[in-house]
Symmetry: C3
Subunit: 140 residues, 3 copies
């Protein structure tokens, strides 16, 4: 069984945001899968996806602080600067964190740990609405 | 053909550890797959999975040294500090390295390069026993 | 439907290189898939794969500059040094960027954003020809 949907997220501010519910709510078909796999793919190069702690918002805050330090803006050696000082760092952060996630499905649910959630990582100041492709494959 | 198992690893010390054998030994079903895919997913946010060099232990040692420098403890700007100085860096390392791996299966075996192995990346001082979900899908 | 191929790339210089076309050209079977998933796996521990901007070569140039700074050669604490000063950093970069990519397939094509391309990330000075395993799974 294959199911595939494109999901348009609302615009998020720069930073890290929990989107597990935004994804799962649009996928009632998940319940029909006994064993399977969900892939979430983000169709952009300046936003990314990761899995991390879903409870304490200070974790997401510290992610933004850390990545702004480890991938600084306005480095003198950057050549790709025409689209703003947040653009080249956004591309780098996107590849460090990744564009594609695979999460196992067990008995109709995502089989993540209880503290895990899916983060949208918005690396631009004004990234706008981001588009995901969600693909589910499994047996009922 | 779908096969899915949860694997409880033994407790590992903080650092990087080869676990290819721990996974494959629990999956005799691999031999039945001619073409397929194995997903390994770690159900935690302070340990992670990666693929790297399987021969020289000094590589794993240098991984630990490098990531401790690039993701330092006790940064003054961290807000998520209640669970110990190793906790917030563990979350960050986990997202940099990743929680989910897909490895191709060919003729009943993982089709990795001869120098490749699966690392458990334990980012906590006392992370305890970690839980994986391994999902195999393929044709016989 | 499962399709799997090993692709031997030409030797690339150290740096970041667009290889979307090199992969797709060898996969005419893609056209038969209505919904599916493509996995690209690199069988090496000193080169990696990522998805990023496919238009402006200065992005790839800045990737090389950034990662050379964030993962330096000749760190005094490295122990794995026998294979050259570019070797240990290559292993680290490979795990930060990753060895395995999943990309959705929709109506016979990779369903990436229009600005996305697949990068081969060559982290060695003389890495030679790299080998990929490409696995496609889907329904027609």
């Amino acid at each position: 069984m294959w199911i595939q949907k494109e999901i348009q997220l609302k615009s998020f501010s720069r930073g890290f945001h929990l989107i597990t519910r935004d994804i799962v709510q649009q996928l009632p078909e998940l319940k029909q899968i006994r064993i399977g796999m969900m892939n979430v793919f983000i169709k952009h190069t300046s936003a990314s996806l990761t899995i991390n702690e879903n409870a304490d918002p200070s974790v997401r805050h510290d992610f933004e602080s850390y990545f702004n330090r480890s991938v600084p803006e306005n480095e003198s050696y950057y050549r790709h600067v025409d689209e703003g000082s947040d653009d080249m760092p956004a591309h780098l952060k996107s590849s460090i964190l990744g564009s594609t996630l695979n999460i196992p499905i067990t008995n109709g649910q995502l089989n993540m740990g209880i503290w895990q959630g899916i983060y949208l990582c918005e690396h631009r100041n004004y990234g706008g609405s981001r588009r995901l492709v969600v693909t589910i494959n499994g047996e009922g």
